[in-house]
Amino acid sequence: MSAKITAPAYRIIPIIPALKPGAMEGSGPYVANDKIQGALGFPGQLVDDWHDQAIAKMGELLGKYRSLAVYMDSCVHCGACSDKCHYFIGTQDPKNMPVARQDLMRSIYRRYFTLPGKIFPKLVGARDLTREVLDEWHNYFHQCSECRRCSVFCPYGIDTAEVTMAAREILDSIGYGQKYDNEIIGKVHKIGNNLGLPGPALKDTLEGLEEDVKEDTGIDVRFPVDVKGAEVLFITPSADFFAEPHIDSLIGYGKVFHATGTSWTLSSMSSEAANFGMFIGNYEQLRKVALRIRQAALELGVKRIVVGECGHAWRVAYSFWNTLTGVGDGADPDDQFAMMLQKQLDHRYKQPMHICEFTWDMIEQGALSFDKEANDKHIITFHDSCNVARGSRMGDYPGGQFDIPRNIVKSVANHFVEMDPSTTHERTFCCGGGGGLLTDDLMDLRVKGALPRMEALKRAADEHGVNFMACICAICKTQFSKVMPYYGFERNMVGGVHQLVSNAIKLGAK
């Protein structure tokens, strides 16, 4: 597998690349086996009447999600999106143009759901749903990271991410799921996190961290688990407990809570912020994963819920937790547990709150102080994670999600440089591993999809000596540390915003 993986050359002039039709043809990522599928209540393998079931499911989704029906109807093939996708730029496969990806579904929609498509399919680009089409879906709808960059440029606001989610939902419903995503969701249901990290291992890891921080700083910073009556329930991606550089941000969160005297706790039952239910477009899975957090919040009696550095988790938390679980306003009045949680939480604070909002508030209040020189070895840039940039907000004004993480970095370090503005803020490029694609069997795609971000980083490195790219997403951190060596960068050039906080924070100073 590793032999054929190559990074594309940097483009001298970053314009639309020459087309390589069929460059990424193939069978797509590994298919989920019957055990993995069964754990989520999906058929174990492709069902016999997959054709009829797929069309019926599509009809159901078109009825349920008005947005999907609008997206199917409203595209005028203007081409504004065509060169905006990192996977198209990196792979040059025309089917990775957002419009072409949508058309994989739109052609089927026209055939079965529009009058002209039923009568004159060839004239309107409609086609039958065949086994070949199904395989094409499995392949190319797993070459979209649901990052929504294309939708920023679409004059109609068509969101390819929703089309991809719908396609994956249809595939799951007929027994043709993706191994990586569905295995992970099963682990959350069974053990409480994506990793499958059981409570005792979590506790052992955190005790080790307490020792390490004590050794480094001489201060007893705690990483509490399952503490009833704590004020804050902290929900973070399980990669923060396990991987590097993620764990350095975890240390940063702990130090911020310590320095501000905040009583906080993790939950061993609900030790995951990520919610891959969103990636597969399945509402029931999305809700089931989110409900573990509600259960933990109710059992522990917390007053606040704060979320760690995880991109799509923050989209789910910010945009969906309210109706899914009752964290925030808008829960179903008949949902008694949601109502119970609404009463329990302290609404003087934002519910939920991002750890960056928490830290920035504390900095603004003067509750934290920093030794900025501790980060002087870094010339830092910031990579906006797609789901934070385009699927959520921070603070109390539009664009707060861009300013707050940058404000933190500038408060804890002396050297900060922006990358090319056509690759940041709402126009940020995906890291290349988001949306449920962070799996080894898609490594070639991941390396190629990172091209536009690597180009912008290279320019920043060449022109300003940037040697550290901060981000606030576990997927971004893992993806970059894996693919950067293909582009000639060091693995440890990527890290978290709270890793920088951790380096500079003065403990016991205030």
């Binding site: 682990k187 291992a201 995880c310």
Partner: protein
């Protein structure tokens, strides 16, 4: 699912070459998997593999990278207790490649 043949016996693996039945594991299988990964097993590699298996025995999961580096540092000296040393031994990443050779399940999630 696929199979690997070691010493005339067949063992089930998943699509990515991880052993399906953890109880199947033995040193010959480890050496076989290491070869397919282009890893030349030395005593230093075995130190890591043995620690992974001991940890897994107790916690039913591979250790966090930090736990692993700390343990190796204690055992083999502080200069070896870092992820650079482990990447030197297992270039694809100590988390996944070493787990595969140790016959443990692949760590999943955003790692």
């Amino acid at each position: 699912m696929s199979n690997i043949e070691v010493d005339g016996k067949s063992y089930e693996t998943d699509e990515e070459g991880y052993l399906v039945n953890l109880a199947d594991w033995n040193k010959d299988i480890a050496n076989y998997i290491a070869k397919t990964e282009s890893v030349d097993m030395t005593d230093q590699h075995w130190e890591v593999i043995n620690f992974l298996r001991e940890y897994f025995e107790e916690y039913q999961i591979a250790p966090a990278v930090r736990v692993l580096t700390k343990a190796i540092g204690k055992k083999l000296g502080a200069d070896k207790g870092n992820s650079e040393y482990l990447y030197g031994l297992f270039p694809y990443g100590p988390g996944k490649q070493a787990c595969k050779i140790a016959g443990l399940p692949k760590p999943t999630g955003c790692v």
